[in-house]
């Protein structure tokens, strides 16, 4: 099904949910104010329903907003978003019965930045961008150019195991099978090939650009702590100044806290204004968890959270 018809179906369903009083809020996407962007639409008003869109630029992970909204929520969820929702359910942070999940089988989200680089054009110069299966058609000055989708999708999408939502009430469109590209591991592999000191130095450099804007944490749907450890003052764990040591520790601990919760959706990396490759951390953590405990975050709402659980058979060969 094309985006257009998915969109029509979404508007119909969302409108009905609001009118019938089945939900208090609809959380979805609407057109952004900049070219080829979308922005979250959080509304109680049926008149807003026709602003809902589905297109290859629905970047945000909307599960982020669930904990802020009181009442019942109808939420648009891509595959990754739905896993974050499941993760929140596992942690008792949201109640499944309060949600109506409008699932969107997702073919991957286009990274405008990757596309601009590949097309060697700023978005202002691009007239149109359309997705056709494994290609992305870019119209520049009336001329169409084809780019391979695998090269302009976000890396997180290339690693997506579950493009069809794991949890939904209404599925908008046909289920999609995963098409995993090894490109998604490119950065992790590159790092792993380096000697340890150089890996550490790599992160030192990356985190010296960090301004501690906390966009990574705040765009993350499962960084749900009421008070983050970086903001504790008694004791003060890490200084509030943006210095690479503290920035890095913040991110290391954030990743450890999110082990078994993080679905590697890539929201943090996309939000980072300093272009720090945060997914090279989340991806690895995801794989470590999968490796050690055969646990894939956000795939089964019936499972106990990874860190609130243990098995007698858990690996312990590293312990003397």
């Amino acid at each position: 099904m094309k985006d257009r018809s998915v969109e029509q179906k979404l508007r119909g369903e969302a409108g009905e949910l609001l009118v019938a009083g089945k939900v208090d809020y609809i959380v979805g996407f609407e057109r952004g104010s900049l070219k080829f962007t979308t922005t979250p639409l959080i509304t109680k008003d049926g008149n807003d329903i026709n602003r809902l869109v589905i297109n290859p630029f629905i970047t945000s992970n909307l599960a982020k907003f669930l904990m802020e909204l009181k009442g019942r929520v109808g939420i648009v969820a891509k595959g990754c978003d739905s896993r974050s929702i499941v993760s929140l359910i596992q942690d008792n942070k949201v109640i499944r019965e309060n949600l109506v999940i409008l699932g969107v089988p997702c073919s991957g989200i286009i990274s405008l930045h990757k596309l601009e680089k590949l097309a060697a054009r700023d978005s202002e110069e691009i007239r149109d961008i359309t997705r056709e299966d494994d290609r992305v058609i870019v119209n520049i000055g009336g001329e169409d150019r084809e780019l391979p989708a695998a090269e302009v999708l976000f890396d997180s999408c290339l690693a997506c195991e579950f493009p069809t939502p794991k949890e939904y009430d209404i599925l908008l469109g046909e289920p999609r099978a995963a098409t995993i590209s090894q490109n998604a591991w490119k950065n992790v592999k590159k790092l792993e090939a380096l000697p340890p000191e150089e890996r550490w130095y790599f992160w030192e450099k990356e985190f010296s650009r960090c301004t501690r804007c906390y966009a990574c944490r705040n765009s993350c749907p499962i960084c749900f702590c009421q008070q983050c450890f970086v903001e504790e003052t008694e004791p003060q764990w890490i200084a509030s100044v943006p210095r690479w040591q503290e920035n890095f520790i913040f991110q290391i601990i954030r990743n450890i806290h999110l082990a078994g919760r993080c679905t590697d959706c890539g929201a943090c990396e996309r939000a980072c204004p300093a272009n720090i490759p945060l997914r090279s951390l989340t991806r690895k953590m995801y794989d470590i968890v999968d490796d050690l405990y055969q646990f894939k975050a956000g795939t089964d709402k019936g499972l106990a959270p990874l860190m609130a659980h243990y098995e007698n058979t858990d690996p312990g060969d590293f312990i003397r």
Partner: protein, 142 residues
Amino acid sequence: MREESKWEPRLLGFLCRWCSYAGADLAGTSRKKYPPNLRIIRVPCSGRVDALFILKALQQGFDGVLVSGCHPGECHYQVGNYHARRRLAIIKKFLEYLGVAPQRIQAAWVSASEGGKFAEVANEITEELREVGPNKLFTDER
């Protein structure tokens, strides 16, 4: 160079009060030899040890961190050490990926009666750390 040769690995141990802390005590009273550069922080359970403790220790210049608790099945709180095991496994693998030498993150099960084992563990780790060299992870001058 002279500084280098004088360098002795500094190890920080987070020891469970119900077992390993007593084990360390026993090692001391029974005059088992173990490195003087070991600093000990007593914790209520190995499950109390947060990743932050480990990172803070490394940031403050300790060359290695040891988390030591009760043997599986013997936790005073039934399951604390099992949780510690999960957490430590993840921390260790993740930090190794980031470039921290695996020898810097250590774990052991030591009961209250295992004074000998405690001394052995501390000695082994110190030797391993000696080979890895001083921790310069968080220094600015390199």
